[in-house]
Symmetry: C2
Subunit: 227 residues, 2 copies
Amino acid sequence: MTWQDVRDEVLRRIRARVWAPGDLIPTEAALAAELGCARATVNRALREIAATGLLDRRRKAGTRVALRPVAKAVFDIPVMREEVEASGRAYAHRRLSRAVRRAPAAMARAIGTHAGAEMLRLGALHLADGAPYALEDRWIALGTVPEARDEPFEAVSANEWLLRHAPYTHGEIAFGAVAADAGTARSLDCAEGAPLMSLDRVTWNGARPVTQVRILFHAGYALRTAL
Amino acid sequence: MTWQDVRDEVLRRIRARVWAPGDLIPTEAALAAELGCARATVNRALREIAATGLLDRRRKAGTRVALRPVAKAVFDIPVMREEVEASGRAYAHRRLSRAVRRAPAAMARAIGTHAGAEMLRLGALHLADGAPYALEDRWIALGTVPEARDEPFEAVSANEWLLRHAPYTHGEIAFGAVAADAGTARSLDCAEGAPLMSLDRVTWNGARPVTQVRILFHAGYALRTAL
DNA sequence: AAGTGGTCTAGACCACGCG
DNA sequence: GCGTGGTCTAGACCACTTA
C-alpha cells in the first residue's frame, strides 16, 4: 500500500459518493488500520489531495470532502526561451530600447519605491522562428540591482540575467486581456485593437523592489494546463 | 529543526549563491547530518522546494539548483460564486438559454465524442451586485450525464450542479484573450471589440466527455496570484 | 479537556538511472 | 554496480481547535 494507492482509493470513494461533499471522512488512524498501512502514509495521501482543494483538513475538526471544491491548477509561468524551444521553434530575443529613467508616480506606488527613484527601462521583443512572440516592457530598480546599469541586455535577455543576478523572495503576477495599441500592433504584427493576453509581474527581494514587467503576447496566445 | 526550518535554510543558501544555479547540493543524508535532523525531514523540505521549480532532483544524479527556474504558480480556477462573494459582493446567476442540440463537428472533435451526439447547451450570465461578471456558454454531454436533461438550471448554476452530480477524472483548461462580439458586448455591458479574458474548459470522466464550457469575463478582469 | 491532524525520528528497503 | 532519492514503518510528541 503506497501513498499513491491510498490517494487513489480515497479519490475513488469521493467520486463514487461513498463520501459525499461535506462529509467527514475517517481519521488518519482509522484509514491506516482499514487499509493496512502506516498513519504517515495516509497522511501523505490526504495531504496531497487537500493540496488540490478536494479535501478540507483541520485539526480536531477532522477531514471533510470539500463542499465546493476550489479547483486549483498549476501553471508554468512562461519563460520565453523554454516555451518557444519546447514547441520546436528557434528562440531569439531583440532589445528594442534601453534607458535610465526616474520612476513615474504610478509605478512607484505599484512596486513600493519612492517616485523619482532611478530605474532601468528596457523594451524587448521575443521571437519564435523569427515571428513575434511577445513584447516586453520592463523596469529594473537600480537601487536594488545596481549591476544592471552596466549590462547591455543585448545578448542575454533581462529575464535570464535577473534570474542569475537578482534573487527575489516574493512577487505577484496577473494575467489579463488588453487591446493592441498602434505601436504594439506593429511590433507583434497584428491588427490594432486586437485582443492580446497580458502578463504583469512584480518581484521584491525582502522589502526592496526588484523588477516590474509587462508582457504582451502575440494574438492567439493561450495559457494552458491539465486538470 | 522542522522541515520548514530546513526549507528556509536551503532557500537562504540558494539566494545567497552559496549554491549557485547548476550546482549539485549535498545529499539528503549529508544535510541531515549537518543540520542535525532526520533524513525524512530534509526530504520533505527538498521535495517542497523542488515542487516550486527551484531545485531539480533525480535519483542517483542528486539534487541541483535549477539552471533556469521554471516558475510555477498555483491559480485558483474561478468558481464564480466564491470569487464574487470573496470580494464582498452579492452573487447571482441568470439562465439565458437552454436547448438540446446535436454536437457540431468541431465540438465533437474537441471533446472526443461523435458528431451529432445529443448535448444540452446552456447560456448563462453571472452577476456581482447585479453587474455582469461573466458570460457562460456550456455544452453538457447527455450521453454521459443523462440526468441533466431533467434539470432546468435556473436556481442552481450548471457548474454547481455538475460538481455534485457529474464527477470528472481529468480535464483541460486554457485562458486566452478575445474580442467581444455584439451579443457579448450587450450581455457584459462593454464596448463591441473590447478585449476580454476567456476561459475554456473541457472535462472527461474516464473516456467519456462530461462538459465543455467557454466563459468570457467582464472587461478588466484579471487572473492573479502571489509568487 | 480531548481529539485530530502535523511533524519528527531512526531504520529499512526499493527503484531508478548514471557511469 | 551502486549511489541517490522515494517511500514505508512504528512510535512518539506537539499544536491547534472545538466541544
